[in-house]
């Protein structure tokens, strides 16, 4: 099966930067409804940091490249989600340290490491209605698809579908973590902004088009 080159990773970083920037307002709106409304600003800072990062020539270590993207992210945007995403990138990069290119299995391990990293850093669990409810099922679906012999593109599509389902499944629930935890029952029925950010990022990484429905 095809491998992913560092140039492709760099392309993904650029796509994530563009996607975050394009969806700033939507993230602000969601975060205003149940948080402090800064997620659009955070997304803008992350986008700027990532696009500046991608402007430089990458090293030939894909792992280091991803981990250092995480460090750049933390410097630029240290809100909850910024810090969790920074942690996710650092852990994912660490997982494949030294590798010049990434096989689909590497990508699966990276996604799993990101999921674990987010859970360890933030001390939240699946079902608490956070970005974990997108990343965790996405990692599982990607792994399962590969195990069933799916091609990279197909596995990516299943990953994104699982992520979307994860987001929608927790939408009716009450948020339990972070700022949204303080809002209590009023969060029921509202989309978690971190979930939405997770979707935006995963879709950009997988280079898939937006849902149309």
């Amino acid at each position: 099966m095809a491998t992913v080159s560092i140039a492709q990773v760099r392309g993904a970083v650029e796509r994530v930067a563009r996607a975050l920037s394009a969806h700033k307002d939507r993230l602000t709106e969601l975060d205003q409804a149940m948080g402090d409304g800064d997620l659009g600003i955070t997304a803008g800072k992350m986008a700027a940091a990532l696009s500046a990062y991608a402007a430089d020539e990458p090293p030939d270590d894909a792992g280091a490249y991803v981990a250092q993207a995480g460090m750049a992210l933390n410097r630029a945007a240290s809100s909850s989600l910024g810090t969790l995403l920074a942690t996710a990138l650092m852990r994912a990069g660490k997982e494949v340290r030294g590798q010049p290119e990434l096989a689909p299995d590497d990508l699966a391990r990276m996604l799993r490491a990101a999921d674990t990293g987010i859970q360890e850093r933030g001390k939240a669990k699946p079902g608490d209605k956070t970005i974990i409810d997108v990343v965790h099922p996405a990692a599982a679906a990607f792994e399962a698809a590969l195990a069933e012999g799916a091609e990279l593109e197909a596995a990516a599509a299943r990953m994104l579908a699982a992520a979307l389902r994860g987001r929608d499944e927790v939408t009716p629930l009450r948020s339990r973590i972070g700022r949204a935890g303080w809002v209590g029952e009023r969060t029921m029925g509202l989309v978690d902004p971190g979930c939405e950010a997770g979707i935006i990022i995963l879709r950009a990484i997988a280079d898939l088009p937006e849902e149309t429905a």
């Binding site: 240290s78 810090t83 972070g178």
Partner: protein
């Protein structure tokens, strides 16, 4: 946006530039201008106290860096956590050989970043203890007190732990004072207007001209409920009742009280509220010691106020009374 600023992205950096130009004898920066420390840091042989958090709350956080209080502060963007790197820079620069105490508000971004910083400091053999401030009674019921936000009550933790550190206590003792202080500290706020985060350029929330939200947090986090603005006496009465229910002091206890403006609310109105709070507390047989009335933890130009109560024993009282001197807080 009724604000005096240049490029919103430079708001915090320019503010810090002004701060260091104004108080070079008292404050300095560590590596990065977003890491503010005492000019005489590190104070050798003293436990160092660090805090950090978003900007927009002056004097919280960096306003309490100075003698008798904090040694350093990591400064985030408006209402944004600073990064773990900034916290580490502060930690390194203030460490005087007796360890570093982190005291800061219980907000997700701050907790994650301070935890990362503590892990990094540990690799450099700097011992770090952490005490989270969770004084806002409106942010979760008593059974979930661990989820509560940290608001104005943190100033008492800075003050008393700072005084303890000045006495030469070790890290565990200083941390213990911070914990004991906070165990006896409760705050509740009321907001009458939003404020505008420079980079967002619009108000953090909307609230009717004659509405209030009791229990709202210092970044506009939701409170207990939105309702018609009541009289100062009625508002004060509800706030004091909520605090007393949670703190449950006994008749004869001594409390210190903080009447804190969130920004726009003038001193005049704090004294109107203090008058009522005083009458209510005296009527319960409680004694008031050394009230703090002013702006101690703000949300830029938000209108509203918070009330904090801290139950004092002799030890806490003498630590409260110790002198302190920062650019924003002078006590003789």
């Amino acid at each position: 946006m009724r604000k005096l600023l240049n490029d919103p992205n430079d708001y915090v950096t320019e503010m810090l530039d002004g701060l260091l130009k104004a108080h070079p004898d008292q404050l300095a920066s560590a590596e990065d201008v977003h890491a503010i420390v005492r000019a005489d840091a590190p104070v050798q042989g003293k436990v160092a106290l660090a805090t950090g958090g978003g900007s927009g709350h002056l004097p919280v956080f960096l306003g309490y860096v100075g003698s008798g209080m904090l040694d350093g502060c990591a400064v985030g963007d408006v209402f944004q956590s600073p990064s773990a790197e900034q916290m580490l820079a502060v930690t390194r620069r203030i460490h005087g050989g007796k360890g570093v105490l982190y005291v800061y508000g219980n907000y997700g971004g701050d907790v994650m970043n301070f935890d990362m910083a503590a892990e990094m400091a540990d690799l450099e053999d700097i011992r770090v203890e952490t005490v989270l401030v969770k004084d806002d009674v409106a942010s979760a019921p008593p059974a979930e007190a661990d989820r509560r936000r940290g608001v104005a009550g943190m100033v008492y933790a800075f003050k008393l732990a700072g005084a303890k550190a000045d006495q030469g206590a070790d890290l565990d003792e200083v941390a213990a004072i911070a914990r004991k202080t906070l165990a006896h500290t409760r705050t509740i706020g009321v907001a009458l207007s939003p404020c505008t985060v420079p980079q967002a350029g619009k108000p953090t929330f909307t609230i009717g001209e004659s509405e209030m939200e009791i229990g709202m947090g210092i970044h506009g986090e939701p409170g207990m409920q939105r309702e018609q603005l009541a009289s100062a006496d009625a508002v004060t009465e509800r706030m004091v009742a909520a605090l007393l229910e949670d703190l449950a002091p006994a008749s004869g206890d001594t409390l210190t009280i903080m009447l804190n403006s969130l920004g726009a609310t003038p001193h005049e109105e704090l004294y109107i509220m203090y008058r009522k709070a005083y009458d209510l507390l005296e009527a319960q047989g409680l004694k008031l010691h050394r009230p703090y009335i002013g702006r101690f933890a703000t949300s830029m130009e938000m209108a509203g106020a918070s009330i904090t109560l801290l139950r004092l024993d002799d030890e806490l009282k003498s630590l409260l009374d110790a002198p302190a001197h920062t650019p924003f807080f002078v006590q003789r």
